[in-house]
């Protein structure tokens, strides 16, 4: 049966574990997977530019032995002629076996999934969801920490508009013993609906603070985020808030030796390059793990659709 991934919560914890297990096996035995998608096509429909995510999907499909078709900006698609997302999804279903879609409008990949006859993967819809980033985050945490239970996680920076933060919190909220430190300026605090509908509803312990260094010794994981210019309507607000938190080596003095520092990338200046060589820096591993999780995801969705 055709399934899509639009929101990370579309998959149960067991299904996420299955993806993690597959990704770990791909890492251990890449040659065993290198021909599995031979003759299959991934369509990357990127209505807004995102080189990193698109290349990750393309690399994933090529490493499975498959092919890739698609476009990397709306101007080179039929959307520029006024075609609807629904029609695009129906048309692409005739050409490809699976779709990865990025779109600036929230909910566009869901519309595609409702109209396509092939699986659709949400590769980011505006400030809303980005589930494959969460898959990358989960594999990173799993490989660095051995699991998801009893973790203390600090999220730092833009917790208001940071979709990766909301998705990862939702995903981690399903495991016991989670404790959160929410570190942000007042204006970029986690939205109250996330606190109410995810944290309070699941009785998850959390502390809101503006003091990164003060909570540093408590953390198993520090998830840094970029203050995103494109999410602000007002340039002045962006300029005032963009440098709120910059992680430098001196701020890690009280951090644990097994701290895992994560970032969805791209970074601007919120993590000093001086930290890149610190063994606790995991953000480039995250990128690599993202590719493996996308490979595992493509395999799972194609198998469930009966294509493989």
């Amino acid at each position: 049966m055709k399934r899509s991934l639009i929101d990370i919560l579309d998959f149960s914890p067991d299904e996420l574990q299955e993806l993690i297990d597959t990704a770990n096996d791909i890492i251990a035995r890449p040659e065993a997977y290198s021909r599995l998608c031979c003759g299959k096509k991934l369509a990357t429909l990127f209505f807004e530019p995102s080189t990193r995510t698109r290349l990750s999907f393309e690399a994933a499909m090529y490493e499975l032995g498959g092919n890739v078709i698609g476009f990397s900006e709306a101007q080179s698609s039929s959307a520029s002629k006024g075609e609807s997302v629904a029609d695009t999804a129906k048309v692409i279903s005739c050409y490809a076996d699976i779709i990865a879609m990025r779109h600036p409008k929230e909910g566009a990949p869901l519309v595609a999934a409702m109209n396509a006859s092939i699986p659709v993967i949400n590769a980011g819809d505006g400030g809303h969801n980005h589930p494959t980033q969460t898959l990358a985050d989960l594999l990173t945490i799993y490989r660095e920490k051995g699991g998801f239970e009893n973790l203390t996680v600090g999220f730092c920076g833009d917790l208001k508009f940071g979709r990766t933060v909301h998705s990862l919190i939702s995903a981690l909220s399903r495991y016991p013993g989670l404790k959160l430190y929410l570190i942000s300026p007042e204006e970029l605090k986690l939205p109250s609906y996330v606190k109410k509908e995810v944290l309070a509803a699941k009785n998850i312990s959390y502390v809101q603070t503006t003091d990164l260094e003060g909570v540093m010794p408590e953390l198993d994981i520090l998830y840094m985020t970029r203050v995103q210019r494109e999410r602000f309507f007002n340039e002045e607000d962006y300029l005032r808030l963009k440098d709120s938190y910059i992680l430098t080596p001196d701020k890690l003095q009280n951090a644990r030796q097994d701290l895992c520092i994560m970032h969805p990338l791209p970074r601007v200046n919120e993590i000093s390059v001086a930290i890149d060589d610190d063994p606790r820096a995991c953000y480039f591993k995250q990128v690599l793990y993202g590719k493996y999780m996308r490979m595992a995801l493509i395999l799972k969705l194609l198998k469930e659709a009966g294509t493989l």
Partner: protein, 138 residues
């Protein structure tokens, strides 16, 4: 005050006082050419005060709209002057083209033919969210 009883039609009863007009508007009752009565602030043993709408015609009404505006109201179907069916209306799980998403970043803002669908995500607090962008309905 006297409102004639109806012989064939619908009585929407136990409306929370003050919500009758909103229901009238959302159900589009102003477009009907039959008799429609909105009775406001009627004494009620159970509610203290309530509103009632009487429609003197056998027309289909959207139970989703009623359940969204005021869950708990009752619908009485009248035929030949007799009550033939009484329904208690619950909050619907989904609403289609009843309320509209106002999030400028939502796909419904650019694709005009898309249905606006909201899903009930919190029954206790009566929260509906757009299925596309998850924005909360006001």
């Amino acid at each position: 005050m006297n409102i004639d009883s109806i012989s064939n039609g619908i009585v929407i009863d136990h409306i929370t006082a003050g919500r009758g007009m909103k229901l009238y508007e959302l159900l589009g009752l102003e477009k009907l050419d039959c008799s429609v009565a909105i009775i406001k602030n009627v004494h009620s043993e159970k509610l203290g005060k309530k509103d009632i709408i009487k429609i003197d015609s056998d027309i289909p009404v959207s139970l989703d709209v009623i359940g969204y505006v005021d869950p708990g109201v009752s619908i009485n179907i009248i035929r030949n002057g007799k009550l033939i069916e009484k329904k208690r209306i619950e909050m619907p799980e989904t609403l289609t083209n009843v309320i509209f998403c106002k999030n400028p970043r939502c796909i419904t803002q650019t694709e005009q033919e898309l249905k606006h669908v909201f899903r009930l995500t919190d029954r206790v607090n009566k929260v509906y969210r757009c299925i596309y962008c998850e924005t909360k309905a006001n």
